[in-house]
């Protein structure tokens, strides 16, 4: 799963710590999500999207084939 978290954060000139506090998670969690080491839970993904006033799809992009060969909606 790709994400635009780093870009969105940079646009607002927030540090990872600033974002972590706004989301109520640790700085390590923000770092792990940004670097793709951790896929956030659905509630956290919604929280991130709402914080940046975006839809989830605008923040997170699903990579087809990344998760057990599952395909994205509409893909056959």
């Amino acid at each position: 799963m790709k994400n635009r978290l780093r870009v969105l954060r940079a646009e607002r000139e927030w540090s990872q710590g600033d974002l972590a506090v706004r989301l109520g998670v640790s700085r390590q969690t923000v770092n792990a999500v940004e670097t793709g080491k951790y896929d956030p839970s659905l509630p956290l993904a919604f929280k991130i999207a709402r914080l940046f006033e975006k839809s989830i799809e605008e923040v997170f992009q699903f990579e087809a084939g990344a998760a057990n060969g599952a395909s994205a909606p509409g893909e056959q």
Binding site: G17, A20, V21, R22, S26, Q28, T29, G36, Y38, L44
Partner: protein
């Protein structure tokens, strides 16, 4: 969602996390010191049985205190922290179980395998847990 409402100071949050980690590490060190001291006392000193029993049980006090602090700290972890903790514990369990099984089998087979004390098992479990946490922090989904 109002992003600016009641945002705590990131430095203060970081400091609080560091304080909790420092407290747990201090308790771990205290537990280890008490354990080593108690082990030395019960094996080297000639003490009356009630005192020996009291000394033998003494390491469980800081260890229980440490476990309680760890349990309380767990509540402050977020979802990523919990995943790391669970994967570390799962790795330690998976690493410990076959090793213990092999050890018991070699002892039963009576092939002259060296005897291993509980301290070694404890240290092995701690190392396995640290390795598990290391993997959990680095692996990609």
């Amino acid at each position: 969602m109002d992003a600016s409402a009641a945002i705590p100071d990131p430095a203060a949050v970081e400091r609080a996390g560091r304080r909790i980690r420092r407290r747990i590490r201090a308790l771990e060190v205290l537990s280890a010191i008490v354990w080593v001291a108690a082990a030395a006392a019960v094996t080297r000193l000639h003490l009356p049985p009630p005192v020996r029993i009291a000394i033998a049980f003494s390491p469980s006090i800081p260890l229980a205190w440490c476990a309680l602090a760890f349990w309380r700290a767990r509540k402050h972890l977020d979802e990523f922290g919990r995943r790391v903790l669970i994967e570390g514990a799962a790795f330690a369990f998976a690493a410990l179980l076959p090793a213990l099984l092999i050890y018991v089998m070699t002892q039963n087979a009576d092939i002259g395998a060296p005897e291993v004390g509980p301290a070694i098992v404890f240290v092995y479990a701690l190392i396995a847990y640290a390795v598990g946490v290391w993997f959990a922090l680095r692996r990609r989904p």
